[in-house]
């Protein structure tokens, strides 16, 4: 019998040692990770806080482990350099059994950090709720790199404007005959310089816009917009290009188009992009129609309209008789740098930024943009803008 007991004891000792080893391993993993991890049990008591917790928040673990969440929140609240919302996050979520939430937090002390956090309930394998975990990931380097990229691109695109002013300016002076009469060939070459400088400027503007859109720093100045007049003014400069391609560029407006609430300059940019694309991808002799009207729930809805469109709204359409867009390309069309195979094959210049900018500008102003296209029949681009009233 004694032998049996001894065997039994050594078995359980082994099992205990095994459990201890697993525990040590898990703890070591927690300690080694780069993220701050805190866990509350179902009684809202802090059961785990790892080494990174100490270094991120400057609070010794022993002062919070075993304490209720209120004590943890109070400790965080004492440090004026920590963002105020931090204690709130813990308090609010501690009593939330099922919610998974996340966000950003900027710390000033003990070190400047940008933290991305998330919190989720923790369940055992059998489905018993064990508590809630909070994890904080340090993204300071990524954010800094991102900020530097934004600053760099912004600096470059401003710096490029100085030489462009001279190139475009002196070309204009020569074309206006300020340096004497021009031989036809010289005029042709100057036109090419001017055209190319404009393209370069366009590119510089697009790159600056994309950087600012990505950084969430694009500024808008919405106001009451008389849409009909705005569309007319926006497409007027494209008349000569349409004429040179023998294209029919028409404006179809009902007698009363209601006012929109949007940024005039940015709506002009959206129109210039969409109408410019239509002219570019429609063969010579084709038709481009620009339409605007109010869209209410009682109207026939345009094809492909996404469900997020809120009615009533102002609807603007740019319909061309071009080659249309393949269904696979339609889904990708508004993605940054995307260029449809047809666009590349047609050897049209482009960066794939235009429609990304259009989508961002429309979305930022509370509108929706989409496309309806059948290959061989043409493409219809639609966008909405909120009504002024």
């Amino acid at each position: 019998m004694t032998g049996d007991n001894a065997l039994h004891n050594s078995d359980s000792n082994d099992a205990l040692a095994e459990i201890q080893r697993e525990r040590d391993t898990l703890e070591a993993i927690l300690e080694t990770g780069n993220d701050a991890i805190i866990m509350l049990d179902t009684e809202q008591c802090v059961v785990t806080a790892n080494l990174q917790f100490e270094s991120f928040f400057g609070i010794p673990r022993y002062s919070v482990i075993g304490q209720q969440v209120e004590a943890l929140a109070a400790r965080l609240g004492e440090n004026a350099a920590l963002p105020e919302e931090l204690s709130g996050i813990f308090l609010r979520l501690a009593s939330e059994p099922s919610q998974t939430l996340g966000g950003d937090s900027e710390l000033e002390s003990p070190q400047r950090r940008t933290l991305v956090w998330y919190s989720a309930p923790v369940y055992s394998q059998t489905g018993t709720l064990l508590g809630r975990v909070f994890a904080f990931h340090d993204t300071t380097r990524e954010r800094d790199a991102d900020r530097m990229k934004t600053q760099f691109v912004s600096m470059i695109s401003h710096e490029l404007r100085t030489p462009l002013t001279s190139i475009k300016g002196f070309t204009e002076l020569m074309l206006e005959g300020e340096a004497g009469e021009l031989q036809p060939e010289v005029r042709e070459y100057l036109d090419i310089i001017q055209f190319s400088a404009n393209r370069l400027l366009h590119l510089v503007n697009d790159i600056l816009d994309v950087t600012q859109l990505e950084a969430g720093r694009l500024e808008l100045r919405p106001a009451r917009l008389h849409v009909a007049a705005l569309i007319e003014a926006a497409i007027a400069p494209m008349g000569p290009l349409a004429m040179s391609k023998r294209q029919l560029l028409t404006l179809e407006l009902p007698t009363a188009v209601p006012d929109a609430w949007a940024d005039a300059e940015r709506v002009t940019q959206i129109l210039t992009n969409l109408v410019g694309n239509a002219l570019k991808y429609t063969p010579d002799g084709g038709t481009i129609r620009v339409k605007a009207r109010i869209l209410t729930p009682f109207d026939t809805l345009p094809p492909n309209m996404p469900s997020e469109v809120r009615l009533p709204t102002l609807l603007i359409a740019i319909c061309d008789s071009g080659s249309g867009i393949e269904p696979a390309a339609q889904a990708e069309l508004f993605t940054r740098f995307y260029r449809a195979a047809q666009a590349i094959e047609s050897q049209q210049a482009g960066t794939g930024l235009g429609l990304f900018i259009v989508k961002s500008l429309v979305t930022l102003q509370g509108g929706v943009v989409w496309v309806y296209s059948e290959p061989g029949r043409g493409s219809d681009f639609y966008f909405t803008l909120p009504l002024a009233d």
Binding site: H158, E159, R161, T162, L164, T165, S166, I167, K168, G169, F170, E172, L173, E176, E178, L201, Q212, E219, L220, R221
Partner: protein
Amino acid sequence: MSYVLVVEDDKYIQLLITRKLQSAGYTVRALASGKEALALALREPPSILLLDVMLPDISGLDICKAVKAELGAKSPPVIILSARGQISDVQAGKAVGADDYLIKPFAPRELLTRVQRFVRV
């Protein structure tokens, strides 16, 4: 003597503006130094002041502010010429009392039109 004062540190843009305005009949004085320009503007107020923003010594915005403050109602109209075209940049120009704001690259023809709005030859 009535003249246009151009403050621009890029010598080619300075030349561009000078030539365009001269051929339209304006008398132009151009400087690259903000401090010199400010002193001249206060000593002999021009009929219009064209200011680049990023100058090597003082900012065009500061020149505008100082001229408007010193000369008050007698201060010349000011057009800011800047590579920065964000809404907040334009607002910063208006905030220091600028009368107009032109974003680079500008067409010389457009610059002339803007100048003519304030000052006739």
